[in-house]
């Protein structure tokens, strides 16, 4: 299951992810990112409630962040737990996002 909520505070758009990001939930994530394309200068993915992501989920997050970056929007992932941080490290998430 994946719950997605978003809030806008000044020039920062926050997407809060709750639950699991994997093959069965990435569709919902893409839907929200496509329909609510933020018009702000900064987007924050708040992962405080996210407790699982596999490489498909990480890839969804990466693609969304890369799309924002191409439009000149700064994307940031915050509040990752240790397991998820390791997962993002292993899949090279930060490496790809940093070099894009």
């Amino acid at each position: 299951m994946l719950g997605i909520s978003h809030t806008q505070c000044g020039d920062q758009f926050t997407v809060a992810l709750n639950g699991e990001l994997a093959l069965d939930t990435v569709e919902a994530f893409h839907d929200v990112m496509d329909r609510r394309a933020p018009q702000t200068e900064q987007v924050v993915f708040d992962c405080a409630g996210l407790f699982f992501a596999d490489s498909t989920g990480v890839n969804a997050l990466l693609q969304a962040a890369l799309r924002l970056k191409r439009r000149g929007v700064a994307a940031e992932v915050v509040n990752l737990n240790d397991d998820l941080r390791e997962m993002l490290d292993v899949t090279g998430f930060f490496e790809v996002l940093g070099s894009a």
Binding site: M1, A22, L23, D83, M87
Partner: protein, 716 residues
């Protein structure tokens, strides 16, 4: 151009000139301005003519000639007709054709004038009778026009005049009726409203012509782009280039000759262009074997026979093409029900599909028109609809141009020479005889004979005679592999006559063994490389080892993977098991990631599969399997070891993530599917017997199809 046609055309041209010379002096100066205006309009409409789907030209030039005749009299009408003819002459540079066109039009107009002059005294001068006479005159004009034009094809071909005339009427009646139909409203609006109304009407007509032209052009472009796309696909799948284009020309010709409605003709044309599009989904090896006219194995033949179904599925997904898709699905059905894919019979096969079948057979038959007609006559009643035979024969004769004839002769001679040489080479092969790997046999009256005429008993005699009887019935060549004990044979069977089958039996045991050994060597090379590169963590295993691993230990639970939602269910159930095993949060996360990666691979690449959880010697094993087409060995190292690589569009890190989070990974992959086995040593406490309480037998869990596995007493 034959002399007779030249004489005919020039005579009409001279007659036209004489008519013009006789009538022009009758014009008075004050009539010139309106005549010139109408002549310009007629010339303009004649120049911007429309090409109808049956390739006939449709202009409104004649309507303005009739309008001039009714408003200003015969002299001005001849002048306007001349201008209109000049308008159409811009399209032709041939002086004979120009003279003929002008002459036949002026003669037709003279005929119309004669008919109207004869009829006018007989009826009153009321508007209704005037309109009726004018329309009747128009009919006379078009009748004479058709008769005079028919003279040219009649003189140039050996066809009877009646048949030429009927073809001509069939092609021109739409344009003639349209021109006459517009005459009356244009004439009366001109009389009531004068030049301004006529000008407005002309603007409307030009707008109408523009819209119709756009639609017609759209239709032609649609068919032309379909044709071009198909040629690209034909080149890619290595079929006969432009085969579809040639079949579509023949099919359209047949449909037009049958006078089918224009929409049906277009649908048949589109279906003919796309009829073999399903071949893009067939194994290129099978298509190349078909192109070489090689004999197919039963399995390959079965796959090839799916191409109409696949083609229909592809085309059916295009908007407004469902009728076309139906014709494609049935283009290999036979009149007697022996075709495929549905074995439809007689009138149950859509007419368009019957036409397609015939067009393809005509296109595929080498030789001159007589050979082709003989071939389709032989097939009428079995493969082809016998009712279509007359129109098919006519289409064959029409399509047979001198260049096509020459090409067909060359092709036929080449093929028969090659066949002869090949057969000679096979018969004289000392090598085949020396190795004793091949036997050449004849099957007749349930007995086998060597090529020297002695009766013999071949290996696998029972299977070969059953295959030979099948070939005798179907009269279709066949290729099949037969195994007897440890020996494998490849058998080729060719129908030689209604009672005889020629057979070649090859002993392929050594070749098969060599191929198996080769595959084993390749497998071991990859296995060693991958094992070293992963420091022994990932082991490529063969079928035997995989079977052994799957039998080890105790199955705990298993689940079918059918949709992306099942990935979520699998994780949820694994969490439950991890809780029962008191696994730590970090271990649970790592194993869930591994399970999720393997399950996602199955759902993404194979569509469906199975996941099972087992326990062996205090280790947890997650077994994920599918029956997809496997991972080819050559991409295996990259798929497993390299970051960012996948055969699908994703990060492709499934395997590297699994390798990071698990202790041991076994992979078996072949054309029958892939099995991934992950092993994780359980903490000593978690391995105690009490913690392995299984789920209740038969309990179904939400979202997926989990079943409790069999439990041994040891773990209860």
């Amino acid at each position: 151009m034959p002399r007779s046609v030249q004489i005919y055309a020039w005579s009409l041209g001279i007659a036209g000139l004489l008519i013009l010379l006789a009538y022009i002096p009758t014009l008075t100066w004050h009539r010139y301005p309106p005549v010139i205006a109408l002549a310009l309009l007629a010339g303009l409409f004649e120049h911007f003519t429309m090409t109808l789907p049956n390739r006939m030209k449709f202009s409104l030039g004649s309507t303005f000639v009739f309008l001039t005749y009714a408003s200003l009299g015969p002299g001005p009408a001849f002048l306007v007709e001349t201008t209109s003819a000049v308008g159409s002459m811009v399209r032709t540079r041939n002086p004979v054709q120009r003279a003929f066109n002008l002459g036949q039009l002026l003669l037709s107009l003279l005929g119309m004038h004669g008919a109207i002059s004869l009829l006018r005294p007989l009826v009153g001068a009321s508007p209704a009778s005037e309109a009726a006479i004018l329309l009747l005159g128009g009919v006379v004009f078009f009748t004479l026009n058709t008769l005079l034009v028919s003279g040219v094809p009649w003189l140039m071909s050996s066809k009877p005049f009646g048949s030429v005339l009927s073809d001509m009427v069939g092609q021109s009646w739409v344009a003639s009726t349209g021109s006459l139909g517009l005459l009356i409203p244009l004439l009366y609006s001109f009389r009531l409203g004068g030049w301004l109304t006529l000008a407005l009407n002309c603007v409307c007509l030009f707008a109408f012509r523009y819209v119709v032209n756009l639609l017609l052009r759209e239709k032609r472009n649609h068919l032309a782009s379909l044709g071009q796309l198909t040629e690209v696909i034909e080149r890619r799948i290595g079929g006969h280039e432009r085969h579809a284009t040639r079949v579509s020309t023949v099919a359209r010709g047949i449909a037009e000759a049958m006078r089918l409605p224009a929409d049906d003709v277009d649908q048949i044309h589109a279906a003919a262009i796309l009829h073999d599009i399903g071949e893009a989904e067939i194994d290129p090896r099978i298509l190349s074997a078909m192109a070489r006219k090689a004999i197919l194995s039963l399995a390959d033949l079965e796959q090839y026979r799916q191409h109409p179904v696949l083609g229909a599925e592809i085309v059916g997904r295009m908007e407004g093409m469902s009728r076309v898709a139906l014709l494609i699905r049935h283009h290999h059905e036979a009149w007697d029900g022996s075709g495929f894919p549905d074995g439809l019979r007689g009138q149950a096969i859509p007419l368009g599909a019957r036409i397609l079948r015939a067009a393809e057979l005509i296109e595929d038959t080498p030789g001159d028109a007589d050979t082709r007609v003989a071939a389709i006559t032989r097939l009428a009643g079995s493969t082809l609809d016998p009712g279509l035979l007359p129109v098919l024969s006519a289409a064959v004769r029409k399509a047979q141009s001198p260049t096509a004839k020459a090409a067909a002769l060359v092709e036929e001679a080449g093929v028969s020479m090659l066949e002869g040489r090949l057969m000679q080479t096979v018969r004289s092969s000392q090598l085949l005889k020396a190795f004793g790997v091949a036997q050449m046999l004849t099957f007749e009256r349930d007995c086998f004979f060597s090529y020297l005429g002695d009766q013999v008993v071949p290996p696998v005699a029972a299977e070969v005679s059953s295959l030979a009887r099948r070939v005798l019935l179907s009269q279709v060549p066949m290729r099949q592999q037969v195994v007897e004990g440890h020996t494998a044979y490849e058998v080729y069977l060719l129908p030689a006559s209604d009672e005889t089958v020629s057979i070649l039996v090859f002993d392929i045991t050594d070749a098969v063994a060599e191929e198996r050994e080769q595959t084993r060597r390749i497998f071991h090379a990859y296995r060693d490389v991958i094992s070293v590169a992963t420091r022994g963590k990932l082991m490529l295993i063969d079928d035997e080892e995989c079977e052994r691993l799957l039998e080890e230990g105790t199955p705990f639970e298993e689940m079918l993977l059918l949709s992306p939602q099942d990935a979520g269910t699998a994780r949820a159930v694994f969490h439950r098991i991890a809780g029962r095993l008191s696994l730590g949060k970090r271990e649970t996360f790592r194993l869930t990631v591994c399970l999720s990666e393997a399950v996602t691979n199955v759902l993404k690449h194979a569509g469906k599969g199975k996941v099972a959880i087992r326990r062996h010697n205090n280790c947890l094993r997650i077994v994920v399997s599918d029956q997809g087409c496997g991972i080819p060995y050559q991409i295996l190292p990259r798929a497993i070891l390299m970051d960012g690589y996948s055969t699908q569009k994703s990060m492709g890190r499934g395997f590297s993530v699994m390798l990071h989070f698990t202790e041991r990974l076994w992979v078996r992959t072949s054309a029958d599917g892939t099995v991934v086995i992950l092993e994780y040593p359980l903490p000593v406490k978690a391995g105690s017997a009490e913690s392995w309480a299984p789920a209740p037998v038969g309990k179904r869990l939400t979202g997926g199809d989990w079943h409790a596995g069999h439990q041994s007493h040891a773990v209860r």
